[in-house]
Symmetry: C2
Subunit: 215 residues, 2 copies
DNA sequence: GTCTATACAGGGATAGAC
DNA sequence: GTCTATCCCTGTATAGAC
């Protein structure tokens, strides 16, 4: 089910969800233990079960919140880099590099990508409606937002994409999925230099598909 | 470690590896049980442990064999569709559609993609040398082979890719990863019609990047 | 009344013994 | 081929503490 959870101190609830994101991201759903989550949160195991009825509900709750957080973070990156564009190519490269790092970096705040990996690993065991909600709050929302930015850039004559949705999809494939695949969605580190190289090559290819013919 | 395993009837060994591919692909590494694998193979659990010392070795052995098999299957698809090309666009689309189906289809022989999903889920727990061997025998081999085909097509004037390796990478991103992502690497079914649409759009984009300027 | 700490019941897993 | 030793995990129960 989607999101339940009883009463209790909200601060404890937040600590539990943060800890669950870390442990689920590090170990995956099956390997993660409720004991480890409780320890990471600094609370008793009984408290975990007081806030969440079972492991699955906790996992799905954390997954939903995480995808919304990540979509918002990416939305901020888009606004910063694609809002006021002077050098389109450089702006696209900067956005691509920062998005890849935000999602895939194993270091600081890397639990976002790690939890996404755990979700992808468990897709076959996630109820269809929850999976749809996760997609809609996360990856799909980001793609819609990127398409809106491309639409605006097209109206300013900086892009010549006839289908902004398709352009957004292909931009993500060319500048993000190559890095994601290489790093196995953040499980392995990828050199920042290589990520920058892939992003630049992807942007150049993207501009050859959807770039405005003249400047 | 990579591949050990004792003696025993080779036919039993093959049955065990086939069964392990099915069960690991269906359940994932952690959930899959040695009992279920033995039952699927139609042998005793003792026989399984007679051929493979433990669960991890069995999994890694099956993973390595599987990636080599899949690379060969894709190689055959490439030879069939990219060997004698008359209509380049159509050949690329046909190859893209058939590769996606071969890797991701959940039905017949779909254990290839399912096992790949299980491996990706366990990447953090796989020894680095084994993971490298898996990559080199599977995905990387296919990419090298695709680059060689693109090189040949370039020499015939059908493609204008200055870097065949980069072209192969971008072709795979544009025509395969979009479908793979949508279906979560085969975990969810994707309509054949949608796969064909994505493949065609990806090929068109690819040809705008790397296509020969005139025919 | 919620939290901590610990102990425990039940099920399932691997791996080995008979 | 079955049977079993041993361990781990989820979820609950039993204590007491703020």
């Amino acid at each position: 089910m989607a999101a339940t959870g009883g009463a209790g101190r909200p601060e404890k609830r937040g600590a539990i969800m943060r800890a669950a994101a870390v442990v689920f991201g590090r170990e995956g759903y099956v390997r993660a233990g409720m004991d480890a989550i409780a320890a990471e949160a600094g609370v008793s195991k009984r408290t975990v079960y007081n806030h969440f009825p079972d492991k699955e509900t906790l996992f799905l709750s954390v997954a939903l919140r995480n995808s919304a957080e990540l979509a918002q973070l990416i939305g901020e990156l888009m606004a910063r880099h694609l809002g006021r564009v002077v050098d389109l190519r450089q702006s696209l490269i900067d956005f691509a590099v920062e998005r890849a790092r935000a999602v895939l970096s194993a270091g600081e705040r890397g639990e976002h990508g790690a939890l996404g990996r755990a979700i992808r690993a468990e897709v076959a065991n996630i109820p269809a409606d929850v999976l749809e909600a996760w997609l809609d709050a996360g990856p799909a929302a980001s793609q819609r937002e990127l398409a809106a930015h491309f639409e605006a850039l097209g109206e300013r004559g900086l892009l010549a994409a006839e289908d902004a949705g398709l352009a957004a999809e292909q931009f993500t494939l060319l500048t993000f999925h190559g890095i994601a695949e290489r790093s196995f969605w953040g499980a392995l580190p990828v050199a920042g230099e290589e990520a920058a190289r892939i992003a630049a090559a992807g942007v150049d290819a993207f501009l050859r598909i959807h770039g405005a013919p003249r400047r």
